[in-house]
C-alpha cells in the first residue's frame, strides 16, 4: 500500500498535563464486564458476592435481560451474614455447592467481589482456593474484585484476566498471545490476518473454554487488544512475558500499526505484510471515508466511560477528520496508552477521573457537535440540544480491526446524520 497515514503530530498528547478530577463519577463499576465475559467464556460462571444493588445493576446495565438462564448470579448478602450470625465462608460454600450441582457444565467459577464484600473484608481468594481443592479437577475456582470502590466499568474484565494470568501453565515456547475478550467475529479476523503472515500458533486470553488453555512464559509475546487491560499487562509481565507496544487496533491506522508491531517481532517481510494487509486496509480506508462523511470537521467531547476514549479520539481525529475538545478517561495508564497519546495531536483537554457536574459545565460551554457519554447522561444532553453517542455501544459492538473500521466510524456519524435527518416541524 503506497498511501501513507497522516504524519504523526509534531507534539502529541503524551506530555500534555492531565486534568485530574475528583468528584461524582458517572460510570459503571467493574461488575458490568460480566455481561460480556460470561458470553465469551462458555464454560465459566460468574458469582457476584454482593448486595441487591449488584444484582439490580447486572440486570439493568445491559439494558436488556438475557433470559436464557445466564451464567452469572448474585449471592446476596443478608442481615445474618453481616451481623456475623452466619459464617459467610460457610454460607458461600453452601451457595456454590448448590450452584455447581445445578450446573454440571460449569468448568470455571469466578467469585466476584463487590463493594459490600470488600468492605466487610470477605476473603474470596481464600474461598476460591478452598473450593478449587474441593472441586478439582472438574471445576477451577478463581476470584477477582469488580467492586466500584476499586474498579470502573471495563476494569472488571481487566481484573478477571489478571486473575487468570497466574494460573496459566508455564511454557518456554515463543508464542503470540492476544489479550482481551473480543467478539468472536473480530477475534477470528485478527487470528486470520496474523496466521496469514505465517505466525502461529496464536493464543488468546480469555480462551473460550478452560480446556483450550496454553502455557505462558518468558518467550511469550503478547499484544493487548483493549486499552483497559493494565493489571493484566502487569500480571503477564510478572510471568516474564514480553509486551508488544502499539496503538490499539481501531481504524485502518491503528490496526495496521498494531499488526506491524507484531509482524516486526516475528520477522515478517515487508512484502508479506503488504500481501496480507493491503486489501483489507484499502477496504477499511474506503469504508471509513464513506462513514465519516457526516462528521468531518466536527468537534467531539468524550466523557470518561470505557477507557477506549484516547484510542478512539486518535481514530476520530486522524482518520475521520474530527476535532477533539476534551478526552476524558476514567484513568490513564501511561505505559499502555503512550502509543495512542503520541499520535493524538496536542490541543484537547486530557482529563482523568471525573467531577460530572463540572465536566457538564465544560461540555455545555464548548457545545461540541458530538458528545460521547454514558447512558445516564445521553438523553438529558440530547434534550439540551447536544448530539450524543452512548459509549456503552462501543464496548458491545464489534469495532476492532480493518473490517469493522467503517462500522466504528458509523457509530459516531449515525447520531449526527439522524439529527440532520429528522424534520419534526411543520412544513411552513
Amino acid at each position: 500500500m503506497t498511501e501513507q497515514f497522516t504524519p504523526p503530530p509534531a507534539r502529541g498528547c503524551a506530555s500534555t498535563p492531565v486534568l485530574k478530577e475528583r468528584g461524582q463519577h458517572e460510570v459503571f463499576c467493574g461488575l458490568t464486564g460480566i455481561i460480556w465475559l460470561h458470553r465469551k467464556m462458555q464454560d465459566a460462571f460468574f458469582l457476584v458476592v454482593g448486595s441487591r444493588t449488584c444484582a439490580h445493576l447486572l440486570q439493568s446495565a445491559a439494558g436488556v435481560m438475557i433470559f436464557a438462564e445466564p451464567r452469572f448470579a448474585t449471592a446476596i448478602l443478608e442481615e445474618t451474614d453481616l451481623a456475623g450470625m452466619a459464617d459467610a465462608q460457610q454460607e458461600l460454600d453452601r451457595v456454590v455447592s448448590e450452584l455447581l450441582a445445578r450446573r454440571p457444565d460449569i468448568k470455571q467459577l469466578f467469585l466476584v467481589g463487590s463493594c459490600p464484600s470488600e468492605v466487610i473484608k470477605l476473603d474470596l481468594a481464600k474461598a476460591a482456593e478452598r473450593m478449587s481443592a474441593q472441586f478439582a479437577p472438574n471445576v477451577r475456582v478463581l476470584s477477582y474484585s469488580g467492586s466500584g470502590i476499586e474498579t470502573t466499568f471495563t476494569q472488571g474484565e481487566d481484573a478477571c484476566l489478571a486473575a487468570m494470568a497466574p494460573v496459566l501453565p508455564h511454557t518456554e515456547a515463543r508464542e503470540l498471545l492476544l489479550v482481551g475478550a473480543l467478539p468472536d467475529v473480530v477475534e477470528e479476523q485478527a487470528v486470520g490476518l496474523i496466521e496469514a503472515m505465517g505466525i502461529g500458533p496464536i493464543r488468546v486470553l480469555p480462551a473460550s473454554r478452560v480446556n483450550d488453555e496454553y502455557g505462558i512464559g518468558p518467550n511469550t509475546l503478547y499484544a493487548l487488544t483493549q486499552p483497559f487491560l493494565t493489571d493484566t499487562h502487569e500480571a503477564l509481565q510478572r510471568r516474564g512475558a514480553q509486551h508488544i507496544a502499539a496503538p490499539f487496533p481501531f481504524g485502518e491506522e491503528g490496526t495496521t500499526q498494531w499488526l506491524r508491531a507484531i509482524a516486526d517481532q516475528f520477522d515478517v517481510s515487508e512484502a508479506k505484510f503488504a500481501e496480507v494487509t493491503d486489501a483489507p486496509r484499502a477496504r477499511a480506508r474506503k469504508a471509513v471515508a464513506q462513514a465519516s462523511e457526516a462528521i468531518k470537521g466536527k468537534s467531539v467531547f468524550f466523557f470518561p466511560d470505557s477507557q477506549l476514549e484516547i484510542p478512539l479520539a486518535r481514530f476520530l481525529t486522524r482518520e475521520c477528520g474530527m476535532d477533539a475538545v476534551e478526552v476524558g478517561a476514567p484513568f490513564i495508564h501511561k505505559a499502555v496508552m503512550s502509543s495512542d497519546l503520541n499520535l493524538l495531536s496536542e490541543g484537547p483537554v486530557i482529563a482523568e477521573g471525573q467531577d460530572v457536574d463540572r465536566q457538564l459545565d465544560r461540555c455545555r460551554a464548548a457545545r461540541p457537535d458530538l458528545t460521547v457519554c454514558g447512558l445516564g447522561l445521553a438523553n438529558p444532553l440530547e434534550a439540551e440540544g447536544l448530539t450524543t453517542k452512548w459509549a456503552i455501544e462501543l464496548v458491545f459492538t464489534p469495532v476492532h480491526f480493518f473490517e469493522q473500521a467503517g462500522d466504528l466510524a458509523g457509530l459516531f456519524s449515525r447520531p449526527v446524520r439522524r439529527r440532520a435527518l429528522l424534520k419534526l416541524e411543520a412544513a411552513e
Partner: protein, 518 residues
C-alpha cells in the same frame, strides 16, 4: 446469603430515587461508591426522562475508606445545595455506605443548610425498592406537611405516583378526570410531580386517593392520623373497580356518584361474539400485589377467564393477596425468586400469563402468551401514546393489551383443523406476531421440548402414581395445538392419577377430554 439470578425489585435506595426523580425541587444526596450511578439510566433510558435524576452520589473509593469518608458526604451535600438550590433534600446511604456507618442524616444536620435535609434510614440488606419508595415518601410528608385548614371546595390528593412507575404518568390523568366529573378538585399529586412546597399543602385536602399502596400506604395512614384525611381503598383498575371507586369517592366527599362512561368500550368488546373464545381461558397472574388483585377481578369477572393461580413478589402485600386468592380457590405464590414463578407456571400450564416483564420471558420460553400488568418496568412499558391502566380508558387499554398476545378466534380453529400446514402450524405461534415462540437457548430442560422431541416415553410423577404415556397417546397429544397442549396434558394426567391409571392410552386422553369438557 441468597442465590439470585433476576430480581423483581431493586434495592431500597432505588425506591427513594423514584420518589426524588418524580418530584421537582427535591434533591437526593446519596452516600454511595462509584458504580451506583447505574441507577440513573433506569430513568434516562427506560423512562426516557429528558433530565438527570436529581441525585448526587458521593463516589467514595477504596482509598478513602482508611481515612475519612464523612467529609466526602459533607462536601457533596454542600456542593449539591449550591449548584441545584433545591427546596428540600433527602439524604441517605446505599448498601455499601450503610456498612461504613457515616450517618448521612447527622452529617447533613451539622451543615446547617437553609433547607430541610430529611434523613432516610433504608435497611438495604432487609428491604427492597417498594419499601424504599414508601418509606421515603412517608418521611418527606412527615417532615414537610403540616395540619392545615381544609379547602373551601372538596379536594383530594392523589398519592402514590413515582418515577419509573408502571403507567403512573397516564393514571394520574385518568383519575384526575374521574374526580373532576364529580366536581372534586385535585389538591396535590405526590410524590410525582409535586414540589416540596406542594407537599407542605397536602393537609388542606379533604381526603386522599391512594393510587398505589406499594409506594404511599404508610404516608396515607400517617395523613389519616395527622390530618384527619380518610383515604380510598379501591384501586380503580377495571370496569367494576372503577365503578366501586366512584361510589367510594362519592361517599368520602359527600357528593353524588357520577361516572361518564360514554367512552367505555370494554364491556361491549368483552360481550361481543368474537370474544367467546376468551371464555374460560386459564390464566396465571403475577406482579405487585395491587395490580394482581385488580387484574384477577378483571380476568374473572370482566373477561370471563378462569384464574388458575396468582402471586406477588412484594411481601408487604402477601396477607392481602393470600386472602384474595382463597376467594378464587387458588393458593397465592409469594416469592421474589423468578425460578419459583417459572416452576409454578410450568406446573399449572396456563393458557395465558398476566405478569411482569419477567413472566413475559418465561412465557416466551414456554410458548405461553403473556400480557404485562405490573412493574418491574421495561422501556416498552412507557409507550408514546396515552395508555393508562386506571379508569375508563384504562379498562379499554387493558382489553386490547390482554387480547393482543392471544391466538384470535377463527385462527384458533384453523390451527386445530390443519395443524400440519407447513407455514401455519402450531410451532409458529399467533400469526399476527410474525415470529416463532422460542425455546430456551441453554441446556435447561424444557417441558414442551421433551414432549415433542424425546424418544423416551413421556413420564410424569403426579402424586404417588408414576404415569407413562403410551406412544400412540403421545403422538395424539402432539396433534393438539400448542396453546392448549399443556392443559390437555395436565388434565389427562390428573384424570389418570385420580383413577389410579398409570398408562395413558389414546382412550384415556379422550376420556379425560370428555370429562373436562365445558
Amino acid at each position: 446469603m441468597k442465590l439470585t439470578v433476576w430480581t423483581y425489585e431493586g434495592p431500597p435506595h432505588v425506591g427513594a430515587m423514584r420518589v426524588a426523580t418524580g418530584m421537582k425541587g427535591m434533591h437526593y444526596v446519596l452516600h454511595a461508591p462509584q458504580g451506583d450511578t447505574y441507577a440513573d439510566l433506569l430513568f434516562t433510558m427506560i423512562e426516557r426522562r429528558n433530565h438527570r435524576p436529581p441525585v448526587t452520589y458521593t463516589t467514595f473509593q477504596a482509598r478513602d475508606l482508611g481515612a475519612d469518608t464523612a467529609y466526602l458526604f459533607k462536601d457533596a451535600a454542600t456542593a449539591a445545595y449550591e449548584r441545584f438550590k433545591p427546596e428540600a433534600m433527602i439524604v441517605g446511604a446505599s448498601c455499601t455506605a450503610e456498612l461504613i456507618q457515616d450517618d448521612p442524616g447527622g452529617l447533613a444536620e451539622t451543615l446547617g443548610l437553609p433547607i430541610p435535609a430529611i434523613p432516610l434510614e433504608l435497611p438495604s440488606y432487609q428491604r427492597k425498592e417498594n419499601f424504599g419508595a414508601d418509606e421515603t415518601f412517608f418521611q418527606i410528608v412527615r417532615a414537610l406537611a403540616k395540619p392545615m385548614e381544609k379547602t373551601a371546595h372538596v379536594t383530594a390528593n392523589l398519592i402514590g405516583p413515582t418515577g419509573l412507575g408502571f403507567r403512573h404518568r397516564d393514571d394520574i390523568v385518568e383519575v384526575t378526570g374521574l374526580l373532576m366529573d364529580m366536581g372534586i378538585e385535585v389538591n396535590v399529586v405526590a410524590p410525582m410531580p409535586a414540589t416540596p412546597s406542594e407537599i407542605a399543602k397536602l393537609g388542606q385536602a379533604h381526603f386522599n386517593v391512594l393510587m398505589y399502596p406499594e409506594t404511599a400506604e404508610t404516608a396515607a395512614r400517617y395523613m389519616e392520623r395527622a390530618f384527619g384525611q380518610p383515604h380510598t381503598r379501591t384501586v380503580p383498575i377495571g370496569v367494576g373497580a372503577t365503578r366501586d371507586f366512584v361510589a367510594e369517592v362519592a361517599k368520602l366527599a359527600g357528593v353524588e356518584p357520577v361516572l361518564d362512561d360514554s367512552r367505555l368500550r370494554m364491556p361491549w368488546y368483552s360481550a361481543s361474539v368474537d370474544s367467546t373464545y376468551l371464555t374460560g381461558k386459564r390464566v396465571f397472574l403475577f406482579g405487585d400485589g395491587t395490580h394482581v388483585a385488580a387484574c384477577a377481578r378483571i380476568a374473572r369477572d370482566e373477561m370471563g377467564f378462569e384464574v388458575v393461580g396468582m402471586g406477588c413478589y412484594n411481601r408487604e402485600q402477601a396477607r392481602m393477596l393470600r386472602s384474595l386468592a382463597k376467594d378464587y380457590g387458588v393458593e397465592a405464590l409469594i416469592t421474589d425468586d423468578y425460578l419459583e414463578v417459572e416452576r409454578r407456571i410450568e406446573e399449572l400450564a396456563p393458557e395465558m400469563i398476566l405478569g411482569t416483564q419477567m413472566e413475559r420471558h418465561i412465557g416466551k420460553r414456554l410458548g405461553i402468551p403473556c400480557a404485562v400488568i405490573s412493574a418491574p418496568v421495561h422501556v416498552q412499558d412507557f409507550p408514546a401514546r396515552y395508555s393508562p391502566q386506571m379508569g375508563i380508558e384504562g379498562a379499554n387499554v387493558i382489553f386490547d393489551t390482554w387480547v393482543h398476545p392471544l391466538v384470535m378466534g377463527l385462527e384458533e380453529h384453523l390451527l386445530t383443523m390443519f395443524r400440519e400446514d407447513f407455514e401455519f402450524h402450531d410451532e409458529a405461534g399467533a400469526s399476527h406476531h410474525g415470529h416463532k415462540a422460542k425455546l430456551r437457548e441453554m441446556g435447561i430442560k424444557d417441558s414442551l421440548k421433551t414432549e415433542t422431541d424425546s424418544a423416551e416415553p413421556l413420564q410424569t410423577n403426579l402424586g404417588p402414581v408414576e404415569i407413562v404415556w403410551l406412544p400412540a397417546a403421545e403422538k395424539e397429544l402432539k396433534k393438539i395445538p400448542f396453546f392448549v397442549r399443556g392443559k390437555a396434558k395436565r388434565n389427562t394426567e390428573t384424570f389418570a392419577s385420580e383413577r389410579g391409571v398409570s398408562e395413558i392410552s389414546v382412550d384415556t386422553l379422550y376420556e379425560a377430554k370428555a370429562h373436562y369438557a365445558r
